[in-house]
């Protein structure tokens, strides 16, 4: 009887403590977990990889600090992929909060490339290879407005430069010059791109989302409205795997390192659910 009581009434502080330990330890002693790349991630990777050279990719950084651990690795891996393939890149955010994270990702990845570049052509240069458009409120204005003219929506970029003076913006005028838009978000934003930019202007859209919101995005993947989908930490780790395997870019893989934490956390949750159910059935039988 006492055992049953104990099984059904474990103090929540014990659960918290065990979870804390299993999450923290693998982060303190990181090791890379190998992952099998699933079809939705592969689709997005090749959607970016096969963008024609005259077209650009837009990466919409629309996640906030809360979801950055899950979505940051996706953003970093996509930027590495785009820069390595020398695809023209535009970066934007529909909200003001993600701007800092977008800038951080751009700064870090461009530094990675430029630190090993030997010539000007090898370097990633602002205005020539990429432009950080920044933020224009409300979201509906850039989503619809960029179909006509990107520079008239974003007259100045994040750094205050006139966008029509930047060399890259001479080549990318509107959605006709964009091969894919990837929306990284912890909310519904990827669906807005589908609803407004894709349905009306035919813009191909890919998405990177948090695991907790994943289920509501799968219908869009099945219909082909999403060119690919990255889900949570695992999606980020799979994209990192693709970037390392196909482009031979060896850098720290944050999502792959965090997978061990995630594994242990999931196992602990499963274990507690099982314990709770054993206690529940034992109690029911007793009655």
């Amino acid at each position: 009887m006492k055992i049953i009581e104990t099984l059904t009434n474990i103090d929540r502080r014990i659960i918290y403590l065990i979870l804390l330990i299993v999450v923290l330890l693998p982060l303190l002693f990181p090791s890379v977990e190998k992952v099998r790349v699933m079809a939705p991630v592969e689709k997005l990777y090749y959607a970016i990889d096969t963008i024609p050279s005259e077209k650009a990719v837009i990466v919409d950084f629309d996640y906030e600090p809360q979801t950055a651990p899950e979505l940051d690795p996706m953003g970093f891996a996509i930027l590495r992929h785009v820069f390595e393939r020398r695809i023209k890149l535009l970066v934007l955010s529909l909200y003001v909060q993600p701007l800092g994270l977008a800038q951080n990702a751009l700064t870090q990845v461009t530094e990675e490339f430029n630190s090993v570049a030997k010539t000007n052509a090898d370097s990633i240069i602002y205005g020539r290879d990429y432009v950080f458009l920044g933020w224009v409120p409300p979201p509906i204005i850039p989503i619809l407005g960029m179909a006509e003219s990107i520079t008239s929506v974003y007259t100045v970029d994040y750094y205050g430069n006139q966008t029509d003076t930047l060399p890259l913006m001479q080549e990318v005028t509107n959605y006709n010059d964009v091969g894919l838009l990837v929306s990284l978000s912890g909310s519904d934003i990827p669906k807005w791109w589908v609803a407004y930019a894709q349905s009306r202007f035919g813009l191909p859209v890919g998405a990177g989302i948090t695991a907790v919101s994943a289920s509501e995005f799968y219908p869009y993947l099945q219909t082909g409205q999403f060119s690919g989908l990255l889900v949570g930490m695992k999606g980020g780790a799979e994209y990192e795997e693709m970037v390392e395997r196909t482009l031979k870019i060896k850098v720290r893989r944050k999502a792959s390192e965090a997978l061990l934490s995630l594994t242990y956390a999931h196992l602990v949750m499963i274990l507690f659910i099982v314990i709770g159910n054993i206690g529940y059935f034992a109690k029911r039988r007793k009655k």
């Binding site: 474990i10 929540r12 659960i15 918290y16 979870l19 804390l20 999450v23 977990e33 190998k34 992952v35 099998r36 699933m38 079809a39 906030e64 600090p65 809360q66 979801t67 950055a68 651990p69 909060q97 800092g100 409120p137 409300p138 509906i140 204005i141 619809l144 407005g145 006509e148 008239s152 929506v153 009306r200 695991a211 994943a214 289920s215 509501e216 799968y218 219908p219 993947l221 099945q222 889900v231 949570g232 695992k234 997978l259 995630l262 594994t263 956390a265 999931h266 196992l267 602990v268 949750m269 499963i270 507690f272 659910i273 314990i275 709770g276 159910n277 529940y280 059935f281």
Partner: protein, 220 residues
């Protein structure tokens, strides 16, 4: 007039918002572009001022009337004022109208973002894992056939999305993916249709003036 004018405005702009999706004529598209790029931006700027004013008014009122948890309103007002002052004078990255740095420490939005917004936001979200683990242990019971199915699906998906799942069986990740792709999509699609039809009906009712609760409870 107090109620009629907003109703006319909603009807006119509601219809103007729909037409460009169906009429590709340049006149319609240009008018739509003008409305969005010029008109809407000005409107949003006013809405922002109105929103901030309203937020302050609500919280000042709460403090005055000593409503439940009124103390927290002080935190909001103080944080609001500090952010506004730092934003106005320090700018985004020390580009404001006054030099606001002490040594290497800069009082600007960037500093607030990395030192306040980032850790607070991350902390709030990180707490979720602990609550979820505790709640799952207490509430996730195989009480019925449906609950047992849900539990089994949850275990498969939880294990399938991990590298461990692949080691247990190479079919497990594929099975987890199938659960997300087929039963999940079927359910989600049903919800989507329902939500879309509901939103459409509500939007039409608002545009046509049938639904008027958004006008508030004022007199004619």
């Amino acid at each position: 007039m107090k109620r009629t004018f907003p109703l006319i405005l909603v009807f006119v702009f509601g219809i103007l918002g729909i037409i460009p999706f169906f009429v590709p004529h340049p006149v319609v598209q240009n008018a739509d572009g003008f409305l969005r790029n010029e008109f809407l931006r000005i409107l949003v700027a006013f809405a922002l001022v109105l929103g901030l004013g309203s937020l302050l008014k609500v919280h000042i009122d709460k403090i005055k009337r000593r409503r439940e948890n009124w103390q927290y309103s002080w935190i909001l007002i103080i944080s609001f004022l500090i952010s506004a002052i730092i934003g106005l004078f320090g700018g985004v990255r020390g580009t404001g109208i006054l030099p606001t740095s002490i040594g290497s420490f800069q009082f600007d939005i960037w500093t607030i973002y990395w030192n306040v917004v980032m850790p607070l936001g991350s902390t709030m979200f990180a707490l979720l894992a602990f609550f979820m683990a505790s709640a799952a242990y207490r509430a996730f019971r195989a009480r019925s056939t449906e609950a047992t199915l849900l539990l089994a699906a949850a275990f498969v998906v939880m294990l399938g999305v991990l590298p461990l799942g692949d080691r247990i069986s190479p079919h497990l990740p594929s099975f987890a993916q199938w659960i997300m792709d087929v039963p999940n999509v079927a359910g989600q699609r049903g919800i989507l249709f329902g939500v879309a039809l509901g939103a459409l009906a509500t939007a039409l009712k608002i545009i046509l003036g049938i639904e008027r609760s958004w006008l508030g409870g004022g007199r004619e």
